[in-house]
Structures are given as C-alpha cells and as structure tokens.
C-alpha cells in the first residue's frame, strides 16, 4: 500500500517537534531553490549552498511564524529571496540574471504575450538565451525579480505577493510594466 502523501504544511507542523521531519522539506525544496538562486544570479555553487543553509536555518527558527493558511512554498521562497538580497548587499554587487538554454522560448512567448502583438509573427522569431539574458539584465532589479518569479518560477500573482510582500494589485502592475520594458528592450532585436 502506498505511503500517505503529506503536505508541506503538515510536515512543517510536525517539524516543530521533530527536526528530522524538517529534512523532508529541505529535500523537497533544495532543487527548486537552487535553480531560483541561479536565476537571481548567485552563480557559485558554494554561495548557493551557504545561502540555502542560512535560509533553512532561519526557516526552522521561525517555523512558528509560518501561517498555515498561506502557502509554505511562498514562505520558503520569501526567506530565500531575503537571504539572497542580503548576500547581494554584503557583496555590494548585483550579479546578472542567468538563463539556461531551452528556457528562453517559453519565457519569450509568455512574457511578450500582448493583445496588440502579432503572435504569428512572433512565433517566427527566435531569441537566443544570450539575447534574452542581456535584455533582462538591462532592466531594473525589481522588474528582473518579478519576471523571474512569474515566468521562470511559474508563481501565481498571490504567491509573488506573499514572496515580495507587496499587494497583488502591485504585482499585476509591476509585471505589466516589466513586460512592457522588456518588449521595449527587445524591440530592436525583433525588428
């Protein structure tokens, strides 16, 4: 008989009594969060591990602050996001966003989705990861972060609101502006 599948929220609750349970959450999230950190620009493996270790320790210390009515995933992303921002501040440098080959096409279509755009014409065009990366890196940090969360991490508006601690309406506005800014940056390459 299959073992029961427990939700993150249930495991988080159990981890309050048994730290070993917390390891299950770490295993569930390590892969996703490593990719997220890479996309944010933490390119050195050791740095990513240090950030994640700090983030998981923080998460464990503050496990009682987790509101079970919200998503554990968003809560964990927020902690990692904050750790990454602290890391960038300590380094006094904001590295460039890294995009893996193969990711760019989906991202490109979803980002540039626009009621006024000619999607059939867009489909004819291809952008390399390099071109997209350059365009993304030329955007302000707040736009980069929100585009990564929405289109690479595939987070919902509510999740992004919980991760960045901004109202959902602001998330919507920022995504709209970020897409417009990216379209503008890519405009010359698309022409």
């Amino acid at each position: 008989m299959d073992a029961p599948i427990l939700t993150d929220e249930t495991i988080a609750h159990q981890a309050l009594r048994d730290p070993e349970q917390f390891a299950v959450l770490i295993e569930r999230y390590t892969g996703k969060l490593v990719r997220y950190l890479s996309r944010l620009g933490v390119s050195v493996r050791e740095d990513r591990e240090d950030i994640l270790q700090n983030a998981f320790m923080n998460a464990y210390r503050n496990l009682n602050s987790f509101d079970a009515t919200l998503s554990f995933s968003s809560w964990m992303y927020r902690i990692v996001h904050n750790e990454a921002m602290s890391f960038f501040r300590r380094r006094k440098a904001r590295p460039e966003v890294k995009i893996d080959e193969g990711e760019e096409r989906d991202f490109f279509f979803s980002t540039l989705e626009d009621e006024q755009a000619d999607t059939s014409a867009q489909a004819e065009r291809r952008l390399s990861a390099q071109e997209l990366q350059e365009a993304l890196n030329s955007l302000p940090d707040k736009y980069k972060e929100i585009l990564i969360l929405r289109f690479f991490e595939d987070r919902s508006y509510t999740d992004i609101s919980d991760i960045l601690h901004v109202p959902v309406g602001t998330v919507s506005t920022m995504i709209h502006r970020a897409k417009r800014a990216l379209r503008k940056k890519l405009g010359t390459r698309l022409a």
């Binding site: 299959d2 073992a3 029961p4 599948i5 427990l6 939700t7 993150d8 929220e9 495991i11 309050l16 048994d18 730290p19 070993e20 349970q21 917390f22 390891a23 299950v24 770490i26 295993e27 569930r28 999230y29 390590t30 591990e49 994640l52 270790q53 998981f56 320790m57 464990y60 210390r61 503050n62 496990l63 009682n64 602050s65 509101d67 998503s71 554990f72 995933s73 609101s161 601690h165 901004v166 109202p167 959902v168 309406g169 602001t170």
Partner: protein, 295 residues
C-alpha cells in the same frame, strides 16, 4: 502546496547533503523554533500601535472639525473682510499635519502586521484618513471637540487655543467688534453691561438694537457685538448695532440664566425708521442685517 515527495509515517533519514548539514546544525546548536506567542505578540503590538495612531489622528481630526465649526464663517465680512481671508487665518496647519502624520504612522504599522502587505496602500491610507475623520466627527459630536483642541493644544508651547484666537479678533472695540458676557440689561433695553475675557466691564449703548438683538441679550451668556466706538469722553464707550450669540459647537452646552423675559408687548426703543445714523457706518451693514434676520 507541494506534495511531490511521499513520506511514510516512519521518519526517513535526510538523504541530501544540505539536509544533513542543516539537521546536524539544528541538533548541535540546540536550535529550537521561537515560541509562537512571540509572533502573536509582535503582530498584536503592530495592530495596537496602528489603533493608537488612528486615535491620535482622530483627535487631530476632531480639533480640525472643531476649528472649522467655530470659525464664525457668517461673521467673516465683519472680522476678516472675506471668507477667504478668514480661511487663510484659521487653517489648522498643526492639526492637519498631525492628522496626516499619524495616518501615515497607522498605515506603516498596518503594513508591518502579518498580512499587512496584502492590503492596497492607497486603500489603507484613504481608509485610515476616513476612519480618523469619522472618529473625530464622533468625538466632536459627543462634545469633546473643545476638550481635544484645547487640552492637547495646551501641551504645545507655541499653540494658542482657537477660541482664544477668535476672542482676540472680537475684542477689538476700535474695529467695532466686542465679545463678552452680558452681566446686566437695562429694564428699558437702552443699555447693557458686558464683561470681557480680560475682566473689563463695559456699558454698551443699546438704543439702536432691534428685537432680535435684545432677545439675544435677554438670554444672557456670551455674545458678539458689532457696533461703533464712541469718543473716550462719552459715558458709554460703545454703541451697539448688532448682537449675535456666541455659540460653541463641539463642547458641552452650559446654559446661562436669562437676564430678562421678552413678551409680545416688548418694543424696540427706536422705531425702525428713526434709528440713528451711527450704525449705517458699520461695515458690512447689509450682510449683518441679513444675517440678523436669518437668526
């Protein structure tokens, strides 16, 4: 919600390097989750601080309403020349500033509560201002407007309570304005005595007053008088042309003892057509007459 990895009831050993490192560190450093009550306490403290800021903003709103309600807009032509000049003179900058600052503090506190980030900033800001104005209006309606304006104002060294300021506009006989408490009224209504806030008692010539003015005097209490100053040698230093009640809105009512009872046989001393020409020089005569007729 993530349900990717099945978990048996028996605890699985940490399989990844990072999970092992974190769990070992938790055990070695004896790290335990911070108690839940600390988060609840902090969250409630933010809400309490927001409520406190809202109360201060409400007090500021009550003071603003009190000032605007008692500005004496209807007398503006006599005291300041125009309503706009009066408005410029009474804009309660300090209270408006306090209202805005504490509304912002309230917003900032709410923003720091557990789910405060989810609320729209503009909605929270407008909501706090509206709540503060509503609560301030309630304080004012309950008769606490003066208490708040003067009570809080007393703690500010540079602040002068609004009614003191308004008294100073009216305690200006050279400009034809007086304010004070009616202490006596002659049986034939030819004069009355007025005690000013500075303690002076003045005998005022009331020959030109109409029934509307006399009924205000008969009720006793504090009144505003518009008239003409006499020469220093005169027995009565002031000739009254109009008398208006001094009503304070947003303060507990303090009824005064009537000085006389008017009956249907009460008559003005001078019939309408035979008034002295002194009052014709009072500006703005027509507006004051019209105001008198509406009272």
């Amino acid at each position: 919600m993530n349900t990717d990895t099945p978990l048996s009831k028996k605890t699985n050993p940490p399989s990844t390097h990072l999970a092992r490192r974190v769990v070992e560190e938790i055990k070695q450093t004896h790290t335990v989750p911070r108690p839940r009550w600390t988060y609840l306490f902090i969250n409630r403290a933010w809400w309490a601080a927001a409520l406190l800021a809202l109360l201060v903003a409400a007090a500021a709103a009550a003071a603003v309403i009190f000032i605007f309600a008692n500005a004496g807009w209807q007398y503006a032509p006599a005291t300041h020349g125009s309503v706009f000049t009066l408005l410029a003179a009474i804009v309660p900058n300090i209270w408006l500033f306090a209202l805005i600052i504490f509304a912002l503090v309230g917003y900032w506190n709410i923003r720091h509560t557990a789910r405060g980030y989810r609320y729209s900033p503009s909605l929270v800001a407008v909501g706090i201002i509206l709540l503060a104005v509503l609560a301030g209006g309630t304080l004012f309606a309950a008769g606490w407007g003066q208490e708040v304006e003067e009570g809080l104002g007393r703690h500010l060294p540079f602040y002068r309570p609004f009614l003191d300021e308004e008294h100073s506009w009216w305690l200006n006989a050279h400009k034809g304005l007086l304010v004070g408490t009616v202490t006596s009224l002659a049986p034939d209504f030819s004069s009355f005595t007025l005690r000013t806030s500075s303690g002076r008692t003045l005998t005022i010539d009331a020959h030109d007053l109409r029934l509307a003015d006399i009924s205000v005097l008969a009720r006793g209490g504090t009144v505003r008088v518009v008239g003409v100053p006499y020469a220093a040698t005169s027995t009565a230093p002031f000739h009254a042309c109009f008398v208006f009640p001094w009503e304070i809105y947003g303060a507990p009512s303090s009824p005064s003892l009537p000085l006389a009872v008017l009956s249907s046989s009460t008559r003005e001393i001078i019939p309408s057509g035979a008034r002295s020409s002194l009052c014709k020089g009072v500006r703005p005569y027509r507006q004051l007459r019209a105001l008198q007729e509406t009272q």
